[in-house]
Amino acid sequence: MTRTITYSEAILEAMSEEMRQNPDVFLMGEDVGTFGGVWGVSAGMLAEFGEERIRDTPISEAAIIGAGLGAAMMGMRPIVEIMFGDFLMCAGDQIVNQVAKARFMSGGKANVPLTIRVTTGAPGSAAAQHSQSPEAWFMNVPGIKIVTPSTPADAKGLLKTALRGNDPVLYFEHKMLYGDSGEVPEDPEFMIPFGKAKLLREGSDVTVIGVNIMVKKALEAADQLQKEKISVEVIDPRTLVPLDKETIIQSVAKTSRVVVAYEGHKRSGAGAEIAAMLAEEAVEYLDGPVIRVAAKNVPLPYSPALENYVLPDTADIADAVRSFWN
């Protein structure tokens, strides 16, 4: 059985279900309690779970994430919320040097079931410090998993997997997807494994690999291109670490042409890793370059005119696909 709920509601549901069935799960972050989260995701949780388990914190990202680490190592299963992906850098050492490495450095003694929920992407005129997509910054850090849900069902199923797993997870919620609705299974045991990409649309001419909100834009582009008799296959990796290389390579073996669309900056972004992986492991299938559709390599501007120029959109994906024949 499924029902239609929003991406935001799906995240709330995943957190609430886990908190009901496991007293070790709790949420802390800036404005998550009384305010209900500045994005409204945790609205109502304070009333249900109380101040002990829904904790408003000072504006102290390093302490929030590091305290999550300490509590996790003592057997709790904390969810910490960082309001904007841009603010992850305030806790850079804690994420990169402490959280990600604790298990390995300690010879496996540290268990770190810590989920860091964080927003990503440009919400419009939020400028350079509130609009970034920082996923790829952390792809270079062994020890942390990177989750990028693009639909309400994925949002719920992937978050449940994060909350029941035993590793630190950076869970990136796209600000412009919170209001999107979709079918989500009612089963509280519904979970989506990490490292399993989703084939959203079958096609034969070009594979478009979309990350997070770019999945939605890839599907829009595919609809347009269908009218031009170009058949586009759309794949969502769903988790960047671990990455489901097999599903991607299978698709490329069929289409021979690839576009990777992601909202982060183009240089060394998520798509750069996917393109390099294809060059190493699937070059024999490729009939042309792997094309990256991504944000231009400048800080995100405030002016809508400038911002729209810098960010990748549906038309950019369609143009990239057409370029294989131009």
Binding site: P58, A71, G75, Q94, N97, P142
Partner: protein, 333 residues
Amino acid sequence: MDQDIPKNYSKEQLARFFRQMTLVREFELRAIEERRGGLIPGFIHSCVGQEASAVGACEALAQTDVITSTHRGHGHLLGKGGDPKYMMAELAARSPGYCLGRGGSLHMADFDLGILGANGIVGGGFPAAVGAALAFQMRKEKRVSLTFFGDGAINEGTFHESANLAGLWKLPVIFFCENNLYGEGTPQHKQAPIQDLAKRADSYGFPGVIVDGNDVITVYEAVKEARERALAGEGPTLIEAKTYRYRGHYEGDPMVYRLPGELEEWQRRDPIPTFRLRLIESEIISEGEIEELMGGVQMQLDEAVKFAADAPIPLVDEALQGVYADTHDGLVF
């Protein structure tokens, strides 16, 4: 330093203080020697001179309490019950070491003993100590966390964020500052506009106390009191132990920054001989018993070095293990 030994300490406990301090000192000297001899490949930041702080603080904790440690962490680990065999094996980068040879001096941990890890990042351990204390508070467990740090780390932003959060939530955490007068190669007075760092506690709403970090009993009593306060739900304490680092920031440090005569002045207040003298003058322990304790330490370290030297070197495949708990069919690599 008060020369009289308070009456409420048993001979056994005092002997243990002495033995543990001697173990820390001799462990460090042996590790330095073994590094020169080639057994130990990595950095060593020795805590020679600071033994009373490490041992006095750890002796006041229960086994179920936890610590986070620092670059200069060997004394903390030994104080909390760390086994010199597994420590030496880790320093020697061998498989049976505390971290299976993956961590070395800066990352040694033993969760069974409540050692959450030394740390390669100055100030890196504060938030985790606060988080551990949060877990204890939420689960209503009678445990505290103690975070060791130096006069250098107190100027890191994580100290402010962590002390503020711990004060706000009245968490059972003890901030234990070993003020050894140097942050790496720069003297403390060139790193902060105040010399009594315990004053900073005031701004987080909890007490700050200064103790003679070379007096194991004074340190022990301060931590014991802070622990009782924490367990009573009254929140954190900042303890500043004034002490001195005899050797460089790391082994091999040319120490161009050290003032002439400073080391010799501090050596007159060396925590181990001064405590030994007090024990003997108070007629608590005899010279013979002291010699016996010291001989036992040497034997323990001989065994530790032998264990490390004979221990297997990790197989290269082990480098790819233990990054994650759940590996998703190996895809995470």
